[in-house]
Amino acid sequence: MTAITTPAITGRVKGAGETTYEFTYISPSQERSKVGEYVHYVHRAGGDELRVLCRVTAINPLRAYPHEMLSNPDLDPVLIAESINYLPEGMELYEITAQIVGFFDDRNKTFVNPRALPRTGDPVYLTSKEDLVRWLFFKKPEDDWGIDIGTLLNRPGENVRVVLDMDRFTSTHMAVLAATGSGKSYTVGVILEELMRPVNRAAVLVFDPHGEYGTLRAIEAHPKFQGHDGYSPVVRVVKPGDIHIKFSELAFGELVRMLEGSSDKMHYVLREVLQELRKKSPNYATDDVIAALKARRDVVKTEESTIDGLLWRLHEFVKNRKLISDSTHMRLPDLLKPGQATILDMVELEERDQQLTTSVLLNRVLKSRISVVRGMGIVQEEEKLEFPVFVVLEEGHRFAPANDDSSSKRVLKTILSEGRKFGIGVLIVSQRPAKLDSDVLSQCMSQIIMRITNPMDQQNIKNSVEHVSAEIMNELPGLTRGQAIVTGDAVTTSVMVQVRERIAEHGGRSASTGKEWRAKWKPAPVVDRKFDDGPGKPLY
């Protein structure tokens, strides 16, 4: 039998709530029963006393001031109430609604619903810090492979660390969803810092369309990130000019997508030419394709106009594109290695090039991991990644848009559905969940959701994320910058968190427009008005 300590009683059960797993209790104070707070009651079953964790979802004051006392905004109703002995001290009373989370099953590390409501009059206890740490998180701050992202929002004075299980969210994927300015990239920065701690040493690739994560380099020399065995994290920032895609790495679909306005006949001809070239060598250049097309044009006269169109498009959309290279190659083992975070700074790339880069690299990562895990020789030895990898996609809606069939979305969907088997974890970040593909979102089994007010974004989260309850959705508009709800596989039940401070400086801080305007202001030049028409002349 579990020994029951005697924690503080915060109220007494009144009765059933509106839904099956809700009940209400009466408390003389709302201090210990704030919305989101954790309380528990004791459920007796078969000689066992089980502590059933519940989350406070609503507070309803039972004794309120009459409207008349509030009718003069300049008068404090408290003073009026005191003067007429209304609501003297200690007369406050609240009806509090609590949602049952369940009792914690230590063996399976999960909550089990007792399927029974507490009895009327049963005491409701404020759950202790120790129980919260044990029940809510798979990891403690001192554990290896834990991601300490901040503290429990409801217990500001108790420093209850919110520690995510790295193994869980790196294998079943995570989404960070938040409106702009709510601390989304800051939170991702915190996660990246945690991933690079000496106890974790992750292999991370960040697709960074805004160039926000370069500041992470500060952790390289930071004492907190140095291991006793000589470990020191590496943060490699790949600048836009250094991002290249080798022409021969492009999948047929990716190449066709680049050739804007190309016809089905062009695709047919191109496919045949590429197949012939691949038979000779996997490393062919744009010029090889152009030469092969020209040779074919000389032979097959009926395809002349088709091939001309293809040649023009290859020149216009491929050969003149800086991103595409015939020789330069970004080696996967250079981009991904344990203890290294590679930031692909794509700030100067057009959106289609960002998609293309993501698509090509993710395809290569997927093939490499399949090759390693399945023991297949589908990639060259130098391309093999012998360890799990973690990919961060900022502006996820660009790479997996809801209403567009981009190449990056297809490979992303494959990774999200099958990546777990091959050791590829994905963190998708988006400020517009409504624009993010629902399937992609639903495949992320852990979520960090920050302030979101747009109803369409809220609806897409509701539709796509199975862990998110109506109560959590109600909390979203009320969150302030740096506050988040963590839900899904990485925690045992949804928690509200105050994200911790970054160790490295945050690179995504909003610029001060006023400051920049003032700095750039110059006195107006003196205008020589001698050729002016002079004042008073009408414009027309």
Partner: protein
């Protein structure tokens, strides 16, 4: 016994634990007797117990009644008017009386006020004294703070006159406590609305 102030009358009956019937002194019993405004509706009075304790009850005049036990008597009268009666029959007690109902809203002990009704009751015959404005002011300062602690009790008093009673009381207090005018006006406006608008349309 502290009987400082104008003697309004004496308790002749207890209607319940907090409501007492007071026989207002007539011209035969007291000369000069209390004027009508001395025992007007909503006036503050104190009841000074005969036993001489330090506690005085504080009450509000919440209602009144007039009685003439000689009314409809058919027999002859020896004296034609009250003046002749007092000369011819000095021990005569006037059968025409004015009664007022006093609701106890608190008490004072050695000058300290409490806005609550006491466990003990006044006795029959206890004198009822009109409270001077200074006494009313002192009664409303409890522990150094302005209080109308009997507000809920008075509002809950079951009578058609409850609302106009408190409207008058709050008006009286507003004159005595100018610094509290805003708050007292707010309370009074709320009662006025209930009395004149809600009361007027609810029936």
């Amino acid at each position: 016994m502290h009987t400082m102030g104008l003697h309004v009358g004496t308790i002749v009956r207890g209607a319940d634990h907090v409501t007492y019937v007071v026989h207002v002194m007539g011209p035969v019993e007291s000369d000069p007797g209390p004027k009508p405004e001395d025992c007007s509706f909503g006036s503050f009075v104190k009841i000074v117990p005969h036993d001489g304790g330090s506690m005085n009850f504080v009450g509000l005049i919440v209602d009144s009644a007039l009685m003439d036990r000689d009314a409809l008597r058919a027999g002859p009268r020896l004296a034609p008017d009250l003046r002749s009666m007092t000369v011819l029959f000095p021990d005569f007690i006037d059968e025409r009386v004015k009664l007022v109902y006093v609701m106890i809203i608190g008490f004072t002990t050695d000058g300290d006020a409490r806005h609550d009704f006491p466990d003990i009751t006044p006795s029959l015959g206890d004198p009822v004294i009109k409270m001077a404005d200074d006494e009313v002011k002192a009664f409303h300062m409890v522990g150094g703070a302005f209080k109308v602690g009997y507000y809920s009790q008075a509002i809950g008093y079951k009578s058609a006159l409850t609302l106009p009673l408190m409207i008058r009381v709050l008006g009286h207090l507003a004159r005595l406590f100018p610094a509290r005018v805003d708050m007292l006006r707010l309370l009074r406006n709320a009662l006025e609305y209930r009395w004149r608008v809600e009361g007027g349309f609810s029936s």
